[in-house]
């Protein structure tokens, strides 16, 4: 009797599961979910770093009376992409519009989670955006998201420490100059920068190899080529960083975004950073004691006279394929990234990717309240002018892996060994490449390792 009951219960449980699984595998094959462009209730997932989303959405709703937008603050980029992949796997509960970090866009585009925005004519907007963020959001030469911000890699330095070492930050034009400066700064007890090879250093790493012209990952449909060490750009990056590690010119013990990191930025132990243009606000809060000392300059170049930039971070808005209101959703995306919303975002602290805003007078106007505060921290320098110049510099094409979150989280596992001097950087990157290849094969790609 009791056994029978058990069997009944187990069967019921299995039946429920099969039901769940059936939901899970139901694929969405309709591409005609455009819906009414003027009338819809949209769900929007994203984070709100400028604390201004509510106001911007209200303005959008005023301009488009038929559309309402429900904003769900999903907290961080990582949580958002996790929630989105769960919702897509479940086949329901997905938002209409989603905010994603640029490198994760490809992952969702490959797995058919996002709408190709050229259906709505987004491909024609290419020239309106800075090249760096725009290039990152293309898959098969089609835009799958529009950038809301950008993060050109910049060179931030602490002038007080540089002065003490007798180095002029403005005169650092190439990475060779940087190396010479590193030696002088090390002699004063500080480090020119920190490099620890943890997952927090992954983004600056990709930005730096990008600028070096490296192409470590090439994705062509279902084929991936991984070339972490033999590529010419990777070679010059490896040689350069290995030299910094060997000669104890960089702080290899302090990972980015750690508590120690903020403290060392604040007490001058770390004298400079190469990081995205969104850094000023973080410096102002993380290193308040150094107010007036930090400066920003263009990224050092690999060859003299070049003006090559690279991107570090940045986020974008995409339309989810499961949405039944794709046309209205695109309207919202367009408003936020290309329309009036973009200006409002820029006004509340987002570093813009729209050329129109980057080139506008108000963006570099030193008398606005926001600009004045930042410029004061940077010793009176017109910060946005320098940043805007970097944003409009040309960038090479660069491809992330379609499984970028995995590449980021496991970067530290392998590469940090080079910074603790267990193995060489070349060896560490070879191991890392192997691990990435394994993941690619697990995901069904045909991977070639060079």
């Amino acid at each position: 009797m009791r056994n029978i009951k058990r069997i009944v219960a187990a069967t019921a449980a299995v039946a429920t599961l099969v039901g769940l699984a059936a939901c899970g595998s139901s694929s969405n094959d309709s591409s005609a979910n455009k819906g009414d462009a003027d009338k819809a209730e949209l769900v929007f997932w994203g984070w709100d770093s400028g604390n201004s989303m509510k106001q911007i959405i209200a303005n959008f709703e005023k301009a488009n009376p038929g559309i309402t937008v429900k904003f769900n603050n999903t907290g961080t980029a990582e949580k958002t992409s996790t929630a989105l992949s769960n919702a897509i796997a479940a086949g329901n509960g997905a938002p209409d519009v989603v905010m994603l970090e640029d490198p994760t866009v490809t992952q969702f585009a490959v797995t058919d989670g996002l709408v190709d925005l050229s259906e709505f004519g987004a491909d024609k907007l290419a020239d309106d955006f800075a090249a760096g963020p725009w290039n990152k959001l293309q898959y098969n030469n089609k835009p799958y998201a529009l950038p809301i911000d950008s993060g050109p890699e910049m060179f931030f330095y602490n002038k007080a420490v540089f002065d003490k070492a007798g180095v002029d930050g403005e005169s650092i034009k190439t990475w060779d100059d940087y190396y010479e400066a590193a030696k002088k700064i090390r002699a004063t007890g500080s480090y020119i920068t920190n490099l620890a090879g943890t997952s927090g250093d992954y983004q600056p790493f990709t930005a730096q190899i990008w600028q070096a012209g490296a192409q470590p990952w090439k994705v062509d449909g279902e084929k991936i080529t991984i070339n972490m060490t033999k590529d010419a750009g990777m070679q010059r990056y490896i040689k350069f960083v290995q030299k910094l590690i060997d000669e104890d010119l960089v702080d290899t013990k302090t990972p980015n975004w750690s508590d120690d990191w903020n403290r060392e930025l604040n007490d001058g132990t770390i004298a400079s950073l190469t990081i995205g243009a969104w850094m000023p606000i973080n410096l102002m809060t993380g290193a308040p004691d150094q107010a007036g000392n930090w400066r920003v300059a263009q990224l050092p170049q690999w060859e003299e006279g070049q003006q090559v930039s690279a991107e570090d971070g940045g986020s974008a808005l995409a339309v989810v394929k499961l949405s039944k209101n794709q046309a209205a959703a695109y309207k919202f995306v367009e408003y936020m990234t290309h329309g009036d919303g973009a200006q409002e975002m820029a006004d509340t602290g987002t570093f813009p990717s729209l050329k129109k805003i980057l080139q506008s007078d108000s963006f570099t106007d030193p008398t606005t309240e926001g600009n004045k505060k930042t410029n004061d921290y940077f010793g009176g320098q017109n910060v946005n002018e320098v940043l805007a110049e970097a944003a409009q510099r040309p960038t090479e094409k660069f491809q992330y892996l379609p499984y970028n979150p995995y590449a980021q989280s496991t970067y530290g596992d392998e590469v940090s060994k080079a910074y603790t001097k267990e193995i060489t950087l070349e060896q560490a990157l070879t191991n890392y490449g192997k691990k990435l290849a394994e993941q690619g094969e697990q995901q069904g790609y045909t991977v070639t390792v060079k």
């Binding site: 992952q107 750690s258 508590d259 530290g412 060994k417």
Partner: protein, 314 residues
């Protein structure tokens, strides 16, 4: 009204028949028990049985970015057998368990005995304050300890400055011990309380009899108190083994505080499963890992229990 009368009828019904046939009543009693069970059973099935069945179910599939989801049978389990990262993480928590659990339980037993000796002043204060760390969320206590351990700006750093030493508790080769210290701090009080409560069930007449027989304090501990602790020892050992095999909070919080990357994404089995499913897009493989870990943990807990039952039979 009708409902209540129906209930009454339901309850009295079997009672009436009770005198007639005892065998029928036995079955009826079974069903009656289920009526009380259902609120629990419902929750239990939904939050425990179904998720586990679901995890087992998805562990037989493989979801790929290219190719979608397909049935692969035991492939995930086979892959797990040869996964060196997985076994290194299992080895790490096994080592952790072998060292940390005995130390923690020894300390807990000592504290319980000390509290129970009635010779301490401020017993209540002592009892509460040793238990307090258990009430602090693991995330908070790990952060606190992380700041203490910091070799540059933490308490350890300040000590190094004063004493001129070069101690680094975050060094990769002693990091596991540092985590062990945090866990010991968190859970000693909890285990102490289990020991203490089992000690307090000993009737005082036993102590009186012992002292009339001229037993010393040490003999009382050895012959009365320690045997009493054996039963609760089995429970605490099982809890602690399960707890340390599931180690997750402490290492993942410390990950960003430790210089370099001494805490990898596969530092413990749970961290590995987390990383595989949330950044590696391999939730099926992670499910297989979770099931395997559950089986390993259950096997160990079962072995401990069998062993302790044998001990008690003696």
């Amino acid at each position: 009204m009708s409902a209540s009368s129906a209930t009454t009828a339901g309850v009295t019904g079997p009672d009436v028949r009770h005198s007639a046939t005892a065998r029928v009543n036995k079955h009826k009693a079974d069903w009656r028990g289920w009526k009380f069970m259902w609120p629990f059973a419902l929750v239990f099935i939904f939050v425990f049985i179904i998720p586990i069945c679901y995890a087992i179910y998805i562990s037989f599939f493989k979801k790929q970015m290219i190719g979608g989801t397909k049935f692969v049978g035991f492939e995930n389990y086979a892959r797990l057998l040869g996964d060196t990262q997985f076994w290194s993480s299992v080895g790490r928590v096994a080592l952790f368990t072998c060292v940390q659990v005995p130390i923690m339980l020894f300390l807990a037993a000592m504290m319980a005995l000390a509290l129970d000796s009635m010779k301490l002043h401020g017993t209540k204060f002592f009892r509460i304050s040793t238990f307090l760390p258990y009430a602090v969320p693991a995330v908070v206590s790990t952060l606190i300890w992380g700041f203490v351990y910091g070799a540059k700006y933490g308490l350890v750093g300040s000590l190094n400055d004063v004493l001129g030493t070069n101690l680094d508790l975050f060094a990769p080769n002693i990091l596991l011990a540092s985590i062990g210290n945090i866990v010991t701090w968190e859970f000693t009080g909890y285990n102490m309380l289990i020991f203490y409560s089992s000690l307090s069930t000993i009737p005082h007449s036993l102590y009186e009899a012992a002292s009339i027989d001229g037993a010393s304090e040490w003999q009382i501990v050895k012959s009365i108190k320690l045997p009493e602790l054996k039963g609760s020892l089995a429970i605490t050992v099982i809890f602690s083994i399960i707890g340390s095999f599931q180690l997750f909070n402490e290492p993942s919080i410390l990950q960003n505080m430790v210089p370099g990357n001494a805490i990898t994404t596969y530092y413990t089995p749970n961290m590995y499963a987390y990383n595989l499913s949330f950044s590696g897009n391999q939730s099926n493989y992670a499910a297989a890992l979770a099931i395997t870990m559950a089986v390993i943990t259950m096997a160990i807990a079962y072995a401990v229990q069998l062993n302790s039952m044998k001990e008690q039979m003696k």
